[in-house]
């Protein structure tokens, strides 16, 4: 599995074959191509909500820090690691346009 480097400026969106809904706080996630069902906890579900292809990861961390009253540094570390894991699994995609902006400063 290729590793994906995610930093606070990264902008991500769910992969095209991902479908999910919130059931009692948790996320039921279907990976259509793999035919796989995953159940994710509340924070993971929130991250899927936040991955809208526009909002950078840094903004997710701010939002989550407020919502969960969590230690910001620990939260950033956890969110970046988890997001990288989701990206490596092919569930989140780095938005190429937003990534291009980040790289080229455009």
């Amino acid at each position: 599995m290729a590793s994906t480097v995610i930093d606070p400026a990264s902008v991500l969106k769910p992969a095209r074959d991902i479908r999910w809904r919130r059931i009692d706080g948790e996320a039921v996630v279907i990976r259509q191509r793999a035919g796989e069902v995953l159940v994710m906890n509340e924070v993971a579900a929130r991250i899927l909500d936040l991955a809208d292809g526009r909002t950078p990861v840094s903004a997710w961390i701010e939002i989550l820090a407020q919502e969960y009253d969590a230690d910001r540094e620990a939260l950033e570390r956890d969110v970046l690691a988890f997001t990288a894991e989701l990206a490596a699994e092919g569930m989140l995609e780095v938005d190429p346009i937003e990534a291009g902006k980040t790289t080229d400063g455009l």
Binding site: R19, R21, I23, E26, V28, I30, Q32, G35, L38, V39
Partner: protein, 369 residues
């Protein structure tokens, strides 16, 4: 919480999770045993109503949306509705006869609707049998060509087949055909009445020997594949293809799923045609929360569990359906009908106690068959 627990929760707490929508009763085939009530009249839901309905389902966190018919591809705005369903993030299933699943339509379904699964009906292993059922000459050859094209496009396909007196001698040949295509085939061993109560389709119900042979063939294939427990659907699962482990209710009809006909009538499931509301008069949110008829349905699914449990472990082999029971038993959803008893008896003969126990233990059927 695992997926099984999630499904149980939807049943227990009445969380709408799966919706089947019959977009139209129009069809380009003329199947002898079609269960649709073609005499039903009413004001069809307009496309704009469907768009709002789907958005409301998304807000309710419904995950599975099945587009059915009639032939759903015959709805003039099928692609628009399918694309909207995809945009709203549903796991979309399309139940089609496959007759129009080709060319531009097939490509646009893949690109715009991006369904999780397209379920297609096969009625025999050769043109004579299949076309006899569809009453459209050439439909078998066209279906096979369309299936190959759809598979080449990358669409995920599942084949459904209702076993009848006409095709019961072709079980192995149909399985060979679908094996050759590389797609799963799920048999339904029960011909159902039409939704208006017409019993004519039952005239081609499969024989007892035919159903017994189907179960034996399926068991042998499962053994050859090294599958243990209950490897295949022996009856009808949920409309979304899932079936949670035993819970306080017999099924999720009206508790985690509903079906909607082209005129906006809402039913507890596609089999159980007792209306619980109408989308012309109420929103699905209102129906889900306030319908007294739906509350009765939920209570009946609890009672149905008691009916099945009274048969002991073997009861699970009946694949008892309250909707079928109501159709067979003059509206009584708790009366065990002959086909269910026959299924229990035959599966008991094929598998013995081992299968009875595993049926009780069954967790969920695979989401991708």
């Amino acid at each position: 919480m695992g997926f099984e627990q999630v499904l149980q929760k939807t049943w227990r707490e009445n969380i709408l999770f799966s919706v089947l929508v019959e977009l139209t009763y129009r069809c380009n085939l003329d199947c002898f045993f079609c269960y649709n009530d073609l005499g039903l009249r009413g004001e069809p839901l307009r496309t704009e109503q469907y768009l709002d309905f789907f958005a409301e389902l998304r807000d309710l966190q419904v995950l599975h949306l099945t587009l059915s018919g009639g032939e759903p591809l015959a709805h003039p705005d099928f692609l628009r509705l399918g694309a909207w369903a995809r945009e709203l993030g549903f796991v979309v299933r399309v139940k089609s006869n496959g007759h129009a699943l080709r060319g531009e339509m097939a490509r646009r379904i893949r690109d715009e609707v991006d369904p999780y699964l397209v379920e297609v009906s096969l009625h025999g292993a050769n043109a004579a049998t299949h076309d006899r059922q569809t009453r459209v000459p050439g439909s078998f050859d066209r279906l096979l060509a369309n299936l190959r094209e759809a598979l080449d496009l990358g669409l995920r396909i599942k084949i459904n087949s209702t076993m009848t007196a006409w095709n019961e001698d072709e079980i192995e040949a149909m399985l060979a055909l679908t094996d050759d295509l590389g797609v799963p085939l799920q048999f339904d061993p029960e011909v159902t009445l039409r939704d208006d109560g017409d019993r004519e389709p039952l005239s081609i119900s499969p024989s007892r020997a035919g159903v017994a042979r189907l179960f034996a063939v399926q068991a042998e294939r499962a053994r050859a594949a090294g599958v243990t427990g209950a490897p295949f659907a022996i009856g009808k699962g949920g409309d979304d293809g899932t079936m949670p482990a035993p819970a306080a209710k017999h099924c999720g009809a009206g508790s985690s799923g509903v079906a909607v006909d082209p005129y906006g009538n809402v039913y507890p499931c596609v089999q159980w045609r007792r209306p619980v509301g109408n989308l012309h008069r109420q929103s699905i949110r209102e129906i889900w929360a306030d319908s007294g008829a739906l509350r009765e349905i939920r209570d009946l699914t609890v009672e149905a569990k008691g009916v099945v449990d009274a048969y002991g472990p073997a009861g699970a082999l009946m694949s008892f359906c309250p909707g079928s029971a109501a159709a067979h038993g003059n509206g009584d959803p708790l009366r065990v009908y002959p086909e269910a008893l026959r299924r229990m008896e035959l599966l008991g003969e094929v598998f013995g106690g081992e299968e009875e126990r595993s049926a009780k233990r069954r967790a969920i059927l695979p989401v991708v068959p």
